[in-house]
Symmetry: C2
């Protein structure tokens, strides 16, 4: 029996949007779902309890960062990631692939693995599909991701092809070396912005029969229409009974557009990172709370929002906190942005169930929902 199982409940008749359910060892996740990011074993400025209240049902944590600090063996020794960070709900860990190829200093990409330098202290490290499986198993998330090569955009077709093929060989090796029975391993579709490669990657991964699939290497600088086109190209080749996870996406518009094209899972740091800069998301656009125009504004961030910040605080107060460099500013705005995104997913799920997701998403996209 697979530790993680996906149930496709309904497909919206107006679009290809999917309403599903993901069963994991730490609980059930209703999809489509937005996963807040807890890079260093904490969703920045949020207690787990606050996350629960926001309705977050699953979070992502970053393998590369936890390997670097505090070290996966320490996390394991302290009972694994769930216990370490006091989050008794589902967790997904990425593979570090994206970070190794973007954040760290790459020394050498070889077929057996990647030499890179730590972004913290410059120390030299070597990741292989096997070592990444060992790290992810030590962390003990419900869902682990395969180690992949995330080629930059733009890349030559020839390079994108090599990176894709390496990603496929690495996926085989990850699968072969993954042993943990209470953890699912998802494959990752690559192929850069090339239609033929994306389709080939989707087919190849599908043949490997993973319990779920990431779609990687998108939202890395290409125009959004290119990302949407890639999604449309691959979807016919993505196995329908398996969950589809668009990695590192999204802003509110990308969430809506991704769902419309059949994506089930998303993660993004926009919600938390922008909050720390005083940017609040709303269905009618962004609010830069630092701006002078909010100085005496007694309204909440967003009318109708049920988050702790909106229930208790004015924009004027939040602006004051930002100007005064108070930690509470980050805490409250993060809470709003996460609740905003979770609520958007709740409403999207309802719209899918009622076969009106096309109308629902079009209305929000036309109404000026925040896009970054």
């Amino acid at each position: 029996m697979d530790p993680v199982r996906f149930e496709l409940i309904h497909v919206d008749r107006q679009t290809g949007a999917r309403r599903g359910r993901l069963y994991t060892p730490h609980g059930t996740v209703e999809t489509p779902v937005y996963m807040p990011v807890g890079t260093q074993a904490t969703v920045k400025a949020m207690k787990p309890r606050d996350l629960e209240e926001c309705g977050a049902s699953i979070i992502l944590s970053n393998t590369y960062h936890l390997y670097m600090r505090p070290g996966h063996m320490l996390v394991k020794e302290l009972g694994g990631l769930h216990s370490f960070m006091n989050w008794d709900h589902p967790i997904l860990t990425d593979s570090g692939g994206f970070q190794v190829f973007s954040l760290a200093g790459i020394n050498d990409i070889r077929d057996d693995g990647v030499f890179f330098r730590s972004h913290i202290d410059g120390s030299r490290h070597f990741f292989t599909p096997e070592s990444v499986m060992e790290i992810e198993e030590a962390l003990g998330a419900d869902i682990a991701m395969c180690f992949d090569e995330c080629a930059p955009v733009p890349s030559e077709h020839s390079y994108a092809l090599r990176a894709m093929n390496r990603t496929h060989r690495w996926a085989e090796r990850c699968k072969a070396s993954h042993t943990r029975k209470d953890q699912a391993l998802f494959g990752i579709v690559q192929g850069n912005t090339y239609r033929d490669l994306r389709i080939e990657s989707a087919k190849t991964l599908a043949a490997m029969d993973f319990p779920g699939y990431g779609i990687g290497g998108l939202s890395v600088g290409e125009p959004k229409p290119v990302m949407y086109e890639m999604l449309e190209e691959i979807m016919p080749f993505m196995p329908s009974p398996k969950p589809r996870y668009l990695m590192g996406v999204g802003s509110p518009d990308c969430l809506l557009e991704g769902i419309r094209r059949g994506v089930d899972m998303f993660d993004c740091v926009l919600q938390t990172r922008s909050a720390r800069n005083g940017l609040a998301l709303t269905r009618t656009g962004r609010i830069m709370l630092r701006n002078a125009k909010y100085e005496r504004d007694s309204r909440p961030i967003e009318d109708g929002c049920d988050c702790y910040a909106c229930r208790h605080y004015s924009r004027a107060y939040l602006r004051h906190l930002i100007k005064a460099n108070e930690i509470l500013a980050a805490m409250l705005i993060t809470e709003h942005n996460i609740r905003f995104s979770v609520r958007l997913m709740e409403d999207a799920r309802k719209a899918i169930e009622e076969d009106r997701y096309g109308d629902f998403s079009s209305e929000l996209l036309g109404g000026g929902i925040y896009t970054n």
Copy 2:
């Protein structure tokens, strides 16, 4: 009818420690009490809800800071401090006296008031007893403090005398100009480290019949025994039916020593400030959570503590958060330090009720409780 009323419930037979109760427009405060400090209309890194869960019953906010930013008229316009910061429990505001004489750049101390420069932008301001009353009334705390001159330690006797007399004249003027019926105004005893001045100040203020008294100008660099001696000297002259508030104190040892000498109220930033540096208070000493020796320590900060941090997290996790510069570190350690201090007061109150406060405080002071 006074807006704030104090009830002396019991005096410990082993010491002069007092068990009391303070009735305010926003609720009842059991004394002795530690008041967390919310300088800029937020107790740093804490939601009001978290404060409530720590058992905090009253907080302090700083008039000088709020006058500077966001401005007392803005706070008033947004419904006053309670509403602005979402704290529907008692609040005490200091008078800005201490900040004007320590934080700001003093230009000129005159009998009618003080010219000073903002620590934020260097702009020039003038505080008088009357203007401070206006500011504190706009903020709308349950308890306001008189504007006082806080002379540095050491000061010549002649200067300390002049500052004390000015403080007394200003207290008269504060009383005369204070109009808000739902706000109590406390006087402040000054006199530097001079026994004769302290006694004279206590007597003079007592004659003015304030509903409560601050003891100011202590814990500003003098040795602790000097502070304790000053407390002992003045207590016979402090009206017993009125609450006594030792301003800007204290560390755990000072809380215990102050209570022993008849103090009812305390405020201190140590709990929150040190938390942001990774220092946790315990009954057997401080824990510098950043230290390498806590790297693999699976124990909570303090055994037996019921705070959120101690119920859910290991020292190893907290150390990781500190090393990774995560905001959650400040949030969790602050919560512990406040709960620690509130719980210390809870236990002190119980010990007083049972006439064993002498034993209680001696045991803790002998057991290595954190002293700063």
